[in-house]
């Protein structure tokens, strides 16, 4: 399967322009990662707060603004997951955190939505990066901190799993 790559051209942009251009991307990525729209909004806001503070260190020659923002979003989400796990341990709760499923009214079929929800966050994020945001292999690898080959493998497994779950639900 060949996925199209949409690269942001290397240019010096302002934070405002980058935020306006990539807010949906960051938000969509976080929705797929957390399966919680409210949480994704909070994490997106936190992501852009961090990005604003770190904007002086951003180097457009190294990565596109979208890739850079997704890296920050991922770190922010992982921090939240860690905090959530610590909280769960403190409360000795064995139940998974309350998660609001992605709304069906956003355009996904119920089968696809259910199948996506059954995937792990790791699987969903690679689908979000490569399919939803249409990052190329190298950009996705940079966000995930792994090699492009590993991204390809992880995406292939996630899509196969998604297809299998879809078949079960159909």
């Amino acid at each position: 399967m060949t996925l199209p790559a949409r690269r942001t051209p290397i240019r010096s942009v302002s934070f405002a322009a980058a935020a306006a251009e990539h807010l949906d991307d960051v938000y969509g990525y976080l929705v797929y990662l957390t399966r919680d729209r409210t949480l994704a909004e909070d994490l997106a806001a936190e992501t852009f707060e961090k990005a604003l503070k770190l904007w002086k260190r951003y180097d457009p020659r190294r990565a596109s603004a979208r890739t850079w923002l997704c890296q920050i979003a991922r770190t922010t989400a992982l921090d939240w997951f860690r905090a959530e796990e610590r909280r769960r341990r403190r409360e000795e709760s064995v139940a998974r955190p309350d998660v609001i499923e992605m709304a069906a009214s956003e355009g996904l079929s119920p089968e696809l939505e259910t199948a996506l929800a059954s995937l792990s966050a790791g699987e969903r994020e690679v689908i979000a990066l490569r399919v939803l945001l249409e990052l190329d292999g190298e950009e996705a690898a940079r966000v995930l901190g792994i090699s492009p080959t590993a991204v390809s493998t992880r995406l292939s497994r996630a899509l196969t799993k998604l297809e299998e779950r879809m078949a079960v639900h159909v």
């Binding site: 399967m1 934070f15 729209r37 180097d59 997951f81």
Partner: protein, 352 residues
């Protein structure tokens, strides 16, 4: 996976709500000047900073070598002899460690009839078993003032190592121009060949003169005179021992005895001086530099540069050997931490 399904995912891309957009815009409003500055582009990542530091170190090392090679003044390395401060010549006399007589040195420097044309030291060697005055002059050329300093010190060391001594040193190392040194050494005659061989290695031989004066005959004459005087003294003592000797005659004999004793003392001193003269050979060593050609300067500085770079390479190697294990350990720890963090992230994402 079917393309329509992927299209469905793309088309159903979640969009940020107007509230979220407002929140982000509010962030921008709070910090309107948060634009990427030109200075920010100079921010260095650790890897690039490391590479830059390494490059800078190499450039600095090369630069230091070049600067050292191009600007080094030979005079600056003569500090140990005190001759690096300008045109002041150094006239240094070194005392005799063995207490041997030095008064005859200047006279010995004058060429005698025995001093001939340049010849090898081996051709004219002192004859074992005979008292001889051995004199040698040697003129050497050294490359520059730095070598002049080294050769001067080395010549003094050679004399001392052969149980000889330095009679005098005249050292002249001007800031510019030709430098030179005149060294007078005295070494045991039995070791003069060794001394000449070692001294000739200090530079290029420009000339060499060797003179040998036989002292055996004068020494024999003196010995004979001493024996005569001793016999004379013995006879005078016998005469003075006679009881029938008159006062006037006794006084004359007593005066002759005193004179003979003084003469004997002088003869013995003279014989001692001759023998001492024969025990030590005098070597006058002349060192000089010539005006160095520009090509030679370049070669010399290139050699300096090579030497400095070699030294720096050695130092770098030592540093690598010393720091290598620590760097390796650091890298391993860093990799382990990275692996641990990644596995923790995967675990978190699997659970989420």
């Amino acid at each position: 996976m079917s393309e329509p399904l992927l299209d469905q995912i793309r088309e159903a891309k979640p969009a940020a709500s107007p509230e979220l957009r407002s929140r982000i815009r509010a962030l921008e409003a709070e910090a309107p000047s948060a634009r990427r500055s030109r200075l920010a582009s100079l921010h260095l990542r650790p890897g690039r900073a490391l590479a830059l530091a390494g490059s800078a170190a190499v450039v600095a090392a090369l630069g230091a070598g070049l600067v050292k090679g191009l600007t080094s003044e030979p005079q600056s390395q003569l500090g140990a002899t005190g001759a690096g401060q300008g045109t002041t010549g150094l006239d240094q006399s070194v005392g005799s460690p063995t207490g041997a007589p030095e008064s005859a040195t200047k006279e010995a420097l004058a060429p005698t009839g025995n001093l001939g044309a340049p010849a090898t030291a081996d051709a004219l060697a002192p004859t074992p078993g005979r008292l001889q005055r051995f004199q040698a002059e040697m003129r050497l050329r050294v490359a520059d003032l730095e070598e002049l300093s080294g050769a001067t010190k080395r010549a003094m060391q050679i004399a001392q190592s052969l149980r000889g001594y330095v009679v005098s040193v005249q050292y002249d190392a001007p800031a510019q121009g030709v430098g030179g040194a005149q060294i007078v050494l005295r070494v045991p005659t039995a070791r003069v060949q060794t001394a000449l061989t070692q001294l000739s290695a200090l530079g290029t031989i420009l000339g060499q003169r060797i003179g040998i004066e036989d002292l055996q005959q004068p020494a024999d004459d003196l010995t004979s005179q001493i024996e005569d005087t001793q016999r004379q003294i013995a006879q005078l003592r016998l005469q003075l021992a006679r009881p029938t000797l008159g006062d006037e005659e006794r006084a004359v004999l007593q005066a002759r005895l005193t004179e003979s004793r003084r003469q004997l003392s002088d003869l013995r001193a003279s014989l001692g001086g001759t023998r001492a003269e024969a025990r030590f050979a005098t070597i006058q060593l002349g060192l000089t530099t010539e005006r160095i050609e520009p090509a030679a300067v370049s070669d010399s500085r290139l050699d300096d540069l090579k030497e400095i770079l070699a030294w720096e390479g050695t130092a770098l190697l030592y540093l690598l050997v010393l720091a290598g294990p620590f760097v390796l350990l650091g890298v391993l720890i860093w990799l382990a931490l990275k692996l641990r963090r990644r596995s923790e992230e995967m675990r978190l994402l699997e659970r989420a």
